[in-house]
């Protein structure tokens, strides 16, 4: 029998929720341990074994100089590096700082800002090192994570669809909230993975699985605007957990420009 792959889990700037999804996979956890050797997982065990690792799961974004260096060492130690969750994959909610003034923010949050050394941006892991696979979600879907781990152990392709949330809504029989209620729902430009939960509970998708392939935000946002939704409402919708995902970032920045120019026209 071939050697079990050695697995490591690393945390960067994040809330730990995605790592917890692995621990939450209670029904599957023992079977996973039969398939992979968990060599480094600080959230689960203080027995932290050194690399090299076959698979590294990376949670969190890069927000400090130290982390920008540490991720390079993780990459060098790992054969296959996979980002888990919106922070690692797109920069997370903390990437809102990319549009702010970092010194002002640090000054207003910390009583002694001089002790804080941080970057002005929160960036995705892929901006720093080569990423072999990105698992989306805030948090990730642990069924998808388990499928990927087993796929890696078996040497087959994982089954992680990249289509929009709409397909899942239609499987469930959920009525489209954009069309029937005029709700600005990001489902048509958001990747599947959650099972289309929010629209089934009468609210729009807020894009926690990040952009789908393709994500035609330009067309969707222009439709939202024609429904009368204002920039002030749409920018925060696009700027949440996946604010810095390229498709969402571009759309929110276009909106800000459009919003400014239309205000210019009114005055």
């Amino acid at each position: 029998m071939p050697r079990k792959p050695r697995l490591a889990v690393f945390k960067f700037a994040s809330c730990d929720g995605c790592q917890l999804s692995l621990l939450d996979a209670e029904d599957e956890l023992l079977a996973i341990c039969d398939r992979v050797e968990i060599a480094h997982f600080a959230e689960a065990s203080s027995d932290l074994q050194p690399g090299p690792y076959d698979v590294a799961l990376v949670e969190g974004s890069i927000t400090t100089h130290e982390d920008a260096e540490r991720i390079k060492r993780v990459r060098a130690d790992s054969k296959f590096l996979m980002t888990i969750g919106a922070c690692a994959t797109a920069g997370g909610i903390q990437s809102l700082r990319n549009w702010g003034q970092i010194d002002e923010w640090v000054g207003s949050v910390y009583p002694s800002p001089e002790f804080i050394r941080t970057l002005a941006t929160s960036t995705a892991i892929a901006d720093h090192v080569l990423v072999d696979f990105a698992l989306h979600g805030c948090p990730i879907n642990h069924h998808q994570l388990v499928d990927i781990l087993v796929a890696l152990a078996e040497g087959r392709q994982p089954r992680v669809p990249s289509h929009s949330v709409c397909l899942d809504c239609k499987h469930r029989g959920t009525v489209c909230s954009v069309v029937a209620r005029g709700i600005p729902c990001l489902g048509p430009v958001t990747q599947s993975g959650c099972g289309a939960i929010c629209p089934a509970y009468d609210r729009g998708c807020y894009g926690c699985f990040g952009p789908s392939q393709p994500a035609n935000t330009t067309s969707l946002v222009s439709q939202f605007r024609s429904h009368g939704h204002q920039t002030e409402k749409l920018v925060p919708l696009l700027r949440s957990f996946n604010a810095a995902a390229p498709e969402f970032q571009r759309a929110s920045e276009q909106l800000v420009i459009l919003g400014t120019s239309s205000e210019g026209c009114r005055s």
Binding site: S164, L167, G173, V179, N216
Partner: protein, 395 residues
């Protein structure tokens, strides 16, 4: 007893007795009901669940449930659901296999015994069912689940008495009059329904229903204190000439309200001879590739089949789910995506639906129900796209 050939008049409250008769015959009755701010198809036990007094307002990318001025029971057009979900379910397990000491044991899907009675099927939807019959039943490979459900299906059609701005069944020659493919067909007028019989099975159910209605009316006239509101003493008789005229007027109203048109004289042919038309790129910029049009389409039949097995590799299930040519992964062939941009996916859908469908199945794949227009989140209108391609075509 013999059912008369001419349409019968069924007083409104009696429709409940028809539902009861179907349920007595072990049918699961499904029909229009209000859910999630829309008229969808779901289980119907009582006529109270029908969208009495409600209608739908439709336009490209727009649907709103609206109160009617009258109390019509079928005074709407078509909604986000289509009947295909009952014959071709969104998710099905086709087969499973279990690991045993003597190797893999294959477990075929057990025969499906669900008997559906569909209430409120429109003419365009009957046409869509005929098209899906060709896809799933004609030719060398039949779909067993579709066949089992289709053979047992009981269809109560309802003639449209109004049209939405997105309807174009008259262009596709599929409606709005229900002409064939039903067991019973109703036309709603003020006080009740005119009922036509379309099959032996329909006649049988109608006869049984008439007997039970007669018993109910005798029962209610014997018991003057009866409080059962569903029971009426009105008899079921042949429709009067006046009722026939009212029904004809009501049906004509649907025809008159249809404003959308799709020219079909050069279909098939037009689209396949314009594969490099600049309109494909232009619509590709508006299209979200979200799959909504194909999911709501009553004829789209694409699916994906995946083998899903448990972690210990002891059991595998072969699952079939609705899929779409707008899902980029759906064109994954030989290690890459064959249709890697939205324009090529939109072109694939439209050329298949309106053009190559003819070569494949002998008909158009479009029935003019307008769902793809209404339920497109950005309101792309199939009829406008075809017109734009025709306009830009060099003679």
């Amino acid at each position: 007893m013999e059912t008369p050939i001419s349409p019968l008049f069924i007083p409104k409250p009696h429709l409940q007795l028809l539902l009861d008769e179907l349920r007595r015959r072990k049918y699961s009755v499904v029909g229009p009901t209000i859910d999630q701010d829309a008229i969808v198809y779901g289980d119907i036990h009582s006529v109270e669940q029908l969208p009495q007094g409600w209608t739908d307002e439709q336009a490209p990318g727009h649907y709103r449930l609206k109160r009617r001025e009258d109390e019509s029971w079928f005074g709407y057009v078509v909604g986000p659901h289509s009947w295909k979900k009952y014959l071709f379910p969104p998710k099905t397990t086709l087969l499973s296999a279990e690991k045993t000491e003597s190797g893999w044991q294959f477990i075929p899907r057990s025969a499906d015994t669900t008997k559906f009675a569909l209430l409120g099927v429109r003419a365009c939807e009957l046409a869509a069912m005929r098209i899906q019959d060709q896809v799933f039943l004609d030719g060398p490979y039949q779909d067993p689940l579709y066949r089992e459900r289709r053979e047992q299906l009981f269809i109560i059609a309802v003639n449209c008495t109004q049209a939405a701005s997105t309807c174009f069944c008259t262009s596709m020659k599929t409606g709005p009059r229900c002409e064939k493919g039903f067991d019973l067909a109703l036309t709603e007028i003020d006080s009740g329904f005119l009922c036509e019989v379309g099959s032996e099975r329909g006649r049988e159910v109608l006869d049984a229903f008439i007997s039970s209605a007669r018993r109910a009316s005798e029962g209610s006239s014997n018991d003057a204190n009866s409080t059962n509101e569903n029971v009426t003493s009105l008899p079921i008789l042949d429709a009067t000439p006046e009722q026939l005229r009212s029904a004809e007027t009501a049906r004509q109203q649907a025809v008159d309200q249809i404003t959308k048109h799709m020219e079909t004289s050069d279909l098939p042919g037009l689209l396949l001879s314009n594969l490099d038309h600049p309109r494909w790129k232009e619509v590709g910029e508006r299209c979200l590739s979200c799959t909504n049009c194909t999911m709501v389409c009553p004829t789209c039949f694409c699916s994906s089949v995946t083998e899903v097995r448990d972690l210990n590799m002891d059991r595998v299930e072969r699952e079939r789910t609705w899929d779409s040519c707008f899902n980029p992964d759906f064109s994954y062939l030989g290690g890459s995506l064959v249709r890697n941009d939205t324009a090529s996916r939109y072109r694939q859908w439209l050329t298949h639906k309106l053009d190559s469908w003819h070569a494949q199945f002998g008909t158009s794949g479009c029935v003019g129900c307008g769902r793809c227009i209404t339920w497109c989140p950005v309101g792309i209108d199939i009829t406008e796209e075809v017109a734009a391609i025709r306009e830009g075509t060099l003679p």
